[in-house]
Symmetry: C2
Subunit: 489 residues, 2 copies
């Protein structure tokens, strides 16, 4: 590019050259090289007009806390279009928050034999049981939910209070969550509260099905679900192991595809908490290797989860994470890495280590933008970042999403997919909310239909699927995409 040329000239910068530079820069952004069809160009122009209106609105939703922005977003014509758009795959969602709490409370807690207990720290526990459950260290007094609900007499109010326990959503996020510590505390509490419901074996089946349904309704055709594969229990006290959970997941997915032939499938990324010891993680890695052998079509790989800032680093677990290579087997990694504001700390090094351990994607990669060498590696090796903007905001890494570091990554067209992390905790379903934030807040006015198309296509490209299934996925998605374009002209 003969850029230096026209700085020497003694006159106004040439408007044509200026346009060229602006176009060159725009071509680097995510989707900047996508060639749009005539029909797509028409929709793009319409979308641009909608976006201009959206961006001059006060308040600007991506600048607000999502819990306050949500009702505004739901009124947005851009959002409504994004809901209809085929978004491809959801590659970063945790099983514990796959399904909306509304369904958990209105459906699951109304089932027979559901017991509830209130803990000393103002949380709840649930348990399905044929008889009164035994007291536990954290729960002294179990009540049959049906009886309690009848006694209280205000089922709507009561159910709302139950939902409060299962989600971070609140009308006063700034007051309730003054710090990362507080919001992560509530995060873990909600996780534990829902465990008694979703680890009940019959519930889990319905839960998986319902989860796929919510994604499918949001025009998503494939899922990679991070799951710890908790043991599940039957009414009679029988306990099922991880094998059972994977088997169930496989069967539910098969049934769902039978009912919805335009859905491609779902896989599991086995996730282990970073609070474990090295030897426990070693055991988990070995187990994951075995489960992948048993379920090659279901198990995509392995990840470590839990708050990075307060947990141990990937490098701390290096012995465990080197096991597959030592054993000569391949266990793909999908590491959460760089979900932090702190620079130069051990946590901040997780991104480089994730790459050194040959990660397939990077969960969040919030810190990647200020790691120039890791960024180059990630780009060169086509390791996509899983961007979950609402999660980052709710967990207080950033307040105004226009300051999200992914603005840099998007402007450079860094490999990227959009995901939802913990939809039910944040009060979302599917990916449309996160697409909205990424497209309007992070991408700004310059992100366009090409950006959306590339982000959707990326979700198939960067999935763990084998080549032939990626091809089927791409074909299925393209068909939906073309229909979406025609329907919205």
């Amino acid at each position: 590019v003969p850029v230096s040329m026209f700085f020497l000239k003694r006159r106004m910068p040439d408007p044509a050259q200026r346009d060229l530079l602006m176009r060159q820069e725009a071509s680097r952004q995510t989707g900047g090289r996508v060639v749009l069809t005539a029909a797509e160009q028409k929709l793009d122009a319409y979308l641009h007009r909608l976006k201009e209106q959206e961006m001059s609105a006060t308040p600007f939703p991506p600048a607000l806390h999502f819990f306050k922005a949500k009702p505004l977003i739901e009124k947005s014509p851009v959002f409504k279009l994004l809901q209809k758009m085929p978004k491809g795959a959801a590659l970063h969602i945790h099983s514990s928050s796959l399904v909306s709490v509304e369904w958990l409370v209105k459906n699951i807690t109304y089932r027979p034999n559901c017991y509830i207990c209130f803990t000393w720290d103002n949380s709840v526990r649930f348990q399905f049981s044929a008889r009164q459950p035994f007291p536990r260290w954290d729960c002294f007094y179990w009540q049959l939910l049906e009886t309690l609900r009848a006694k209280i007499g205000d089922p709507t109010g009561f159910d709302n209070s139950l939902m409060q326990h299962l989600t971070l959503f609140t009308e006063d996020p700034d007051g309730q969550y003054p710090s990362q510590d507080v919001v992560w505390g509530k995060f873990e509490k909600a996780f534990i509260a829902s465990a008694g419901l979703v680890t009940h074996a019959p519930v889990l089946k319905d839960y998986f099905y319902k989860g796929l349904e919510e994604l499918h309704r949001d025009n998503i055709l494939y899922l990679e679900l991070r799951s710890g594969l908790s043991r599940t229990y039957e009414l009679d006290g029988t306990i099922h192991d991880k094998f059972w959970t994977l088997k169930t997941f496989q069967e539910v997915t098969k049934k769902f595809i039978g009912d919805h032939p335009d859905f491609l499938g779902a896989r599991i990324i086995i996730s282990v908490h970073r609070a474990l010891s090295i030897s426990e993680v070693k055991a988990a890695v070995k187990e994951a290797i075995q489960l992948q052998k048993d379920f090659p079509d279901v198990v995509a790989g392995f990840d470590m989860v839990g708050r990075e800032d307060s947990g141990k680093s990937l490098w701390f677990f290096r012995e465990a994470l080197s096991l597959p290579a030592e054993l000569g087997v391949r266990l793909p990694y999908f590491f959460h890495a760089g979900e932090t504001d702190d620079e130069g700390t051990d946590t901040d090094q997780n991104i480089l280590d994730a790459l050194l351990f040959n990660t397939t994607r990077i969960g969040h990669g919030y810190a990647l933008a200020h790691h120039p060498l890791a960024k180059e590696l990630s780009r060169k090796r086509n390791v996509a970042v899983e961007l979950c903007p609402i999660s980052n905001q709710v967990l207080k890494l950033v307040s105004d999403l226009r300051n999200h570091p992914a603005t840099v990554l998007m402007s450079e067209g860094h490999p990227m997919v959009i995901s939802a992390d913990d939809p039910s905790l944040f009060g979302t379903t599917g990916l449309s909310y996160d697409f909205y934030q990424a497209f309007v807040g992070i991408g700004g006015l310059k992100a366009n239909l090409g950006t959306l198309k590339e982000l959707a296509a990326n979700s198939i490209t960067y999935s763990s699927l084998p080549a032939h299934l990626k091809d089927s996925g791409r074909a299925m998605w393209q068909k939906k995409w073309d229909a979406f374009i025609s329907a919205n002209l």
Copy 2:
């Protein structure tokens, strides 16, 4: 770098190679290639320990609004070291907020013939006058300040209330400034309120002197001051023009250097408000060309000021800004550009246009990190960004400074200097507060003494000084730096 090599190996990433990568990445950051002397290394190790303590503290000052963080910062040992450190030059400060409001109120408003008037919108105006000033459109009733102060009887309380009018500083920034609009409104109000004081000719002399003194006390040796060169007035009603102001600035600077031989000097960047019309800006450019001829040692160049988001773009003024090139004269530009959160808007294009108009430095460049092409141009052409972190936070571009986009620029060693923008409005003096935020908040744990040394040295390198004065400046600074290192071992 044979990076790809060890991804293929079937074992744990080699710790030595990992260290190498980490060092390679660290070498890219601002100051990453500075070679420290043995003494400097010792101080660096001490500084690193201090910083580790600082970064584990709760609350972490750069994460808070500066108005709340200020008392914490003042207790910080890192900050105290930064105050003693020779910081080089202050290249981005506006004349209207050069001197602390404490001095304005406690010294200037106590001078004889000072009148005050309260406006309908709860602001104040000042005027020095031999007799009762005439009512103005915005000010109906002028009172002699001396009389009013005596009448009120609580001089401390009264003086504090006056200070409130002259600064943005408040204990409740979130409540008082809910939006960018509100904080910019107060910004302009404070600017107008102080104008009557500092445009009084005898005050201006003392004001300039005091301003240099405050910088000198913060271990700064050179200043480039952005100024609109407002007309000044004498008690008898005489009005002085811009020529007088430049002459006065030159004389005061000379006197200050006489009194402080370790101070290098000060220059002016003539600044024009972007609210003007194209023809007015044309006239201002022509005038700046003339003033630069008249004061080649004082006038460094030209800039456009005022809020970018609500003002006209540089490209709008292209005819005016092309005048020097057309006339075959050189008028260096020091454009504010990219002081915005909005992406893809006209304002967001100011950065590219500043570069196309051959700007010498970029004021703020907040948006630069997500303009990959402009970023490359700026780097290639050695156009430094003037980073003013406290200003960006107070004016609500970012809340937690760890999310400032300069994290990206610093990690890449982008040409950069640190400055204070409007110290008196933000309740700072000198550059130490902004250095603290850049070093601790934006640089994170990985920024070190090399970073500080490079930032200080940059301020001389990227100044508008001719080569021989840069050499003197560097020598003066190096002497101070060496003394600083020895004194703090």
